[in-house]
Amino acid sequence: MTDNKIPVAYINDKPYAIEQGDTILKLIKRNLGKNLVPTLCDAPNLEPFGSCRVCSVDVALTKGGQVKTQASCHTPVMPGSYIYTDTERIKKLRKNIIELVLTDHPLDCLTCEVNNNCELQTVAAQVGIRKVRYPEGKTHLDRQKDLSHPYMTMDLSKCINCYRCVRACDEVQGEFVLSMSGRGFDSRIIKGNDVSFFESDCVSCGACAQACPTSAISDVFESKSVVADKKVRTVCTYCGVGCNLEVAVVNNEVKSIQAPYDAAVNQGHTCLKGRFAFSFYNHPDRIRTPLIRKNGELTPASWDEAYSFIAEKLTAIKKEYGPDAIAGISSARCTNEENYLMQKFIRAVIGTNNIDCCARVCHSPTALGMQRTFGTGAATNSIEDIKHTDCILVIGANPTDGHPVTGAKLKQFAMKGKTTIVVDPRRIELAKYATYHLQLRPGTNVALLNMMLYYIMTEGLEDKDFISRRTEGYESFKSHVLSQNIDELEEITGVPKELVKKAAIAYATAPNAMSFHGLGVTEHSQGTFTVMLIADLAMITGNIGRPGVGVNPLRGQNNVQGAADMGCQPHQGAGYLNAYDPEINRQYEAFYGTKIPLGKGYKIPEMFEASINGKLKALWLMGEDVVQTDPNTQKVIKAMENLDLLVVQELFLTETAKYATVILPGASFLEKSGTYTNGERRIQKVQKVVEPLPGTRPDGQIICDIMNVMGFNQGDYEPGKILQEIAQIVPFFAGVTWENLGTNGKQWPVKPDGTDTKILHTETFKIGKGKFHHFDFEESKELVQHAKEYPYIITTNRELEHYNAGTMTRRTRNVQILKEDVLLIHPEDAARHFIQDGDMVCVESPRGKVDIKARLTDEVKPGVLSSTFHFPEVMLNMITSDVHDSEAMCPEYKVVAVNIRKSKGKYKG
């Protein structure tokens, strides 16, 4: 007898414990492996569907009772039932079903793309099918292939109508590109209104191809079929979601990428960047040798030559002008170990705090703001908390383009009608599905958040208990908020106050409410203040410290969290320890065994100023294209030109590299190891997939080399060893080792015993109590000064297909999907300037002008324009301003005063 407290069911007469929600198939797979019962329509990340029926088993409710055939994938297990997986009847049924399938399937396995990797083939072999007995009849073998798309392919003669693709597009990506058409025998998969892949709304996530059990939907890399020498698990190099990738390698060449189903971050999903945009890595444009500028020309040189050239120059500059005439900009695209080394190089070898990274231009306000309020500048919760929340507030972020895999999860949430509040000047994809879209004027986040706070207070919806136990400064905060003139704020934001009130009430009354924010929050003159008000919103409603709540910045670059964690900012060293504190300085000095500077260092914008003023003589850039991505291009170029020495570590000859004195060819993420930390503080292993292209070196190795050349004994770039060093100095990395990161990494803080942390601030804040800070709305200087002559506001944004400056994505087939930057403009504004869809528009700001192609859309309100800066052809940053966030000096990319007119030709700065 088995213990009658735990319900069991019998599989082939042996008892197994049933878990809540078990289907028969789940029970079988958990206990007896995934191959005992064949399946075709079932997939790990999709809901049970029950179309193929090959998973059928016989079930009796009592021993020896009457058996009934049931599809195991969608039938719940009845406690005490007897399940038979292989009766004669079942074996025959499976064989007969597959025989039917094969009556309408080409029998040319040997030449098929997925030969040996085909689920139909596997199941056919498993059930032992020998021949098809039916007389010849109707078939669909003559269906035409669809090869229209740069990545996706379709050959419906191979389709078995399992709907896995349709469900993947719906349940995983939330895109509804695919459906079945017709009915019965003639039903057939379609895209859109039965158009080609290329013409459809497909976002090329590849989920359908990965889901398809045959080669009916596949991709140009034949990802499913590649017989790889090895498959390496690594982490995507693009955005801060941090998707895990499984890379197939043949002959030291990357063939294709798939998404592992067991990845905690992405559960078998990716976006097109992670899955398909890898071919930049061996693009002919890759720089394959160091280059030194000689007589104005970049000329090939050996590594030794380049290193001694640089070392001499740096030593000379240091000697003549002091170490503070040298600065370094690290890269949020590189590994933690590389970033750690970079700041160590600048601090310990050069001897200055002039170190910064591109977090400056994206999430520096987040780190600063959240540190001031909570003590920790990182996401309080995890992405999986979306499953546990009742309300989501998305402010200043467009996750379906910027953070596609998280974006897809948020879209799934919103589509189900769960409370979703979108605060954004554009009607972004999520806004279409949201409960509330607060379409504010760009630059007025502070005003809008004040309105929300005001209504939560006037409606008495504060979490008084949380406020009194966990926070301080509430009373004066409250009186400040309540003193606001709500009608004035309504006027400023342009959002009806009743709508704001409803949204505020929805957020405050949800049992668990979670916020996500992006660069639409930070890239403003009041960026840090906005972050702190979002934190205030979470605190007054008690949405901190448990699943499904919190303040969750959608970190931009793959490792922007890590670059900051590693100390790539002037005022904080590795682990955010105060670099200007003599006590801590002594600690660092002891640890590095050398002198560490105490003086203030430059932030990125200050570096440019210093160069223009002649104070900064040398700049070391690791993988940063400041010319294309930093605002006010003319000024950045001037700063580059003014330097005595510009060292650039790069993959390609970027707009910035064109000004370099020395270029050192780095290696891509596929060619090196290390760790990245994603937006939810998850430290994950990046593993070398292929050897670096001949002539290139991992960026970490380059830094080590130069440190060694300059007399600091650093040894070679060994990520595991450097991680060990990091764990000794960065408190929240204490328990991290290369080995214990395992497959899915760890979320910091990691205790010395290796336990990690999904949710921060569960008991107390790092600084004890959470601190309320109040801020009034202040109009951006940009508008105060220029709005009169430049009455339009342009706000910058991102497109799914390209990553930031597009250096990598433009060197993949992604350009065939999106070729250019466009200007989003409301039809009313367009009409006023006689602009039609597709016309070139000259956009002029006080800094300069650019020509962009117009796309008429009511996604933006009249008076507001929007565009991207993925393409150097447009160089949108010619017009952006160098107004910065008052606290963190993050540039205000999101509010630029401009004027527009229809133009004929191209204006090139």
Binding site: L100, T103, P135, N161, S179, G182, F185, K191, N193, K432
Partner: protein
């Protein structure tokens, strides 16, 4: 089926319904305009593919339906009556072929020669006035016999509307739990085919946590040969409406949805009028009869797909999704229309409720047999001397229906197909063994189903009838599950080849196919087809054996 699409469709509620809008958009030409489809899909946040997929599913929405004006019935009863080819000949002299389509069973099985023209059904000798019909000058005639043996629960005429609704008024003074108890006592089982006790369904829906619930009436009566639901809608509409309202009161649902097949234009009109009447007399809307009970009705006109009679396909259909059968769980009572708890019941089932409330559950339970309580409506086709709709107490000998009420056969009949296309083929010598109840039919290897009777004349080849059944299933298969999608077509091909060329059927293969469909199919369309075919193999072996290897 997509949960996401159910939610998105549900955002608009029932007042603005995607499926209805597609029907309206198709009105002018027979298929919706692509521009309109794109507009609708944006409005409902669906993908273009979803709307395209939906439209392409239905006989009366798909592109191929463009320009069709007159539809000839191709249902089983008209087929075995042999009336349709001369009908088509007569029509072809007046209308070009591209304007003539087909419809499967107009519910005129009692006199056959059925066709549909511009929202009206015609049958019997109407074809003789085809010129007037095309000019919209002919009157619509529709007459068939009715009668009963035992208690007339559904066929008894009711008083004028206001006093009939006294039943509802009394119900509203009692608690929903009390009424549910009455239903439990009555033992009423579903009349749509599966025979599931209605009280369980209502209880499960009532208990599911939700603020919104729906009562859906399955008026898709798709079984060729069945027209008893049509009878109720056209002759006893208020029994049905009141039944739905009481079900709403019991479960806490505030909406009643009637999903009525397009092949019954008259039923739609009459139900619409009945609902108008209730609205006008204040019997619908907020706080009905001064109670806290509020209820509204919505009629959804179907667009030609047999599978929409299957309850989960029906729900997807209302949502504007492709009506593909859903897996269970979740059951509709947990997550049905727009993912909200929903009761789906057949017309006849719901129409019994007022009687039960008027006379009590015990009274009803006294009618019929131990396990099959109450009465059953039976549809007799044009091969009977007195074709029509008859109500009998469950347990009544089948012979009394056939020879008594129906007056016997007009000509030589070898078998009757009872209970729709998925019901059993009853050879005439079995009539004496059967009584009209679920158990008697099941025990004898047949199925009571919806109790329609289609006769197969002596001279009608059984091989052709089997081919017709496979063809029907192949045409109506939703295409979701492998055994039915592929098996119905392969079965059709086997019989077609055997009839048309020298191919001889491999009996083992056929038996394998039937078993695969029977135990492997997701729903009772693929799963039910083997029953009549096996009956044919059992009882008509001599007639068909020459076609086998």
């Amino acid at each position: 089926m997509s949960k996401n699409l159910s939610y998105l469709s549900g955002r608009k509620g029932l007042d603005f319904n995607l499926f209805e809008e597609l029907g309206i958009a198709a009105k002018a030409t027979g298929t919706p305009d692509p521009v309109e489809m794109e507009r609708l899909r944006n409005e409902f946040l669906f993908g273009s593919a979803n709307v395209y997929g939906t439209v392409s599913f239905y006989d009366f929405l798909k592109k191929e339906n463009e320009g069709k004006e007159l539809f000839v019935c191709n249902g089983s009863a008209c087929l075995t009556a042999g009336t349709q080819s001369s009908l088509k000949d007569k029509i072809s002299s007046l209308l070009p072929a591209e304007k003539v389509g087909e419809m499967c069973c107009l519910g005129r099985c009692h006199e056959n020669s059925a066709f549909h023209y511009q929202g009206r059904n015609y049958s019997g000798d109407a074809i003789n006035q085809i010129r007037d019909i095309l000019d919209n000058k002919a009157a619509v005639k529709d007459s068939y016999q009715t009668g009963h043996i035992g208690t007339p629960v559904l066929t008894a005429p009711y008083s004028e509307v206001a006093s009939y609704y006294q039943i509802l008024k009394n119900c509203l003074t009692r608690s929903p739990e009390e009424l549910l108890d009455e239903l439990k006592k009555s033992g009423l089982r579903g009349r749509g085919g599966a025979g599931f006790p209605i009280a369980f369904k209502l209880a499960s829906c009532k208990e599911a946590p939700s603020d919104v619930r729906f009562i859906v009436c399955n008026a898709d009566e798709g079984d060729p040969g069945a027209y008893s639901d049509r009878y109720i809608m056209e002759e006893r509409p208020h029994a049905l409406l009141m039944g739905m309202m009481i079900a709403g009161y019991i479960t806490g649902a505030a909406w009643g949805v009637l999903y009525i097949r397009a092949e019954y234009p008259e039923s739609i009109r009459i139900m619409e009028e009945a609902i108008h009447h209730l609205n006008d007399t204040g019997l619908l809307g907020q706080n009905i009869l001064g109670s806290s009970f509020s209820f509204r009705f919505k009629i959804i006109k179907a667009q030609g797909a047999y599978i929409c009679g299957e309850e989960t396909a029906l729900l997807s259909s209302i949502e504007g999704q492709r009506p593909e059968v859903r897996v269970r769980p979740p059951y509709p009572t947990q997550q049905g229309l727009f993912n909200k708890p929903t009761v789906v019941n057949n017309v006849e089932t719901l129409a019994c409720i007022p009687y039960i409330m008027q006379y009590g559950g015990d009274n009803y339970a006294n009618i019929g047999t131990e396990k099959s309580k109450g009465t059953k409506l039976i549809s007799l086709d044009g091969h009977f001397r007195k074709p029509g709709i008859y109500e009998v107490d469950m347990g009544t000998p089948l012979s009394e229906v056939i020879y008594g009420l129906g007056g016997g056969f007009k000509s030589n009949i070898k078998a009757m197909h009872i209970g729709g296309p998925l019901g059993g083929l009853v050879p005439v010598h079995k009539i004496k063994d059967l009584t009209v109840d679920f158990e008697s039919f099941a025990q004898n290897g047949f199925l009571l189903g919806h109790a329609s009777v289609v006769c197969i004349p002596e001279e009608f080849p059984m091989m052709e009838y089997i081919r017709h059944l496979f063809q029907f299933t192949a045409h109506e298969s939703c295409g979701k599950c492998f055994p039915c999608r592929l098996g119905s077509t392969r079965g059709f091909e086997m019989f077609d080849k055997a009839l048309n060329d020298s191919y001889r059927i491999d009996r083992n293969l056929l038996m394998d196919l039937l078993e695969t469909m029977e135990i492997g199919s997701l729903c009772a369309l693929g799963g039910g087809l083997p029953l009549p075919i096996k009956n044919a193999l059992t009882y008509f072996e001599d007639e068909i054996k020459a076609y086998f290897q």
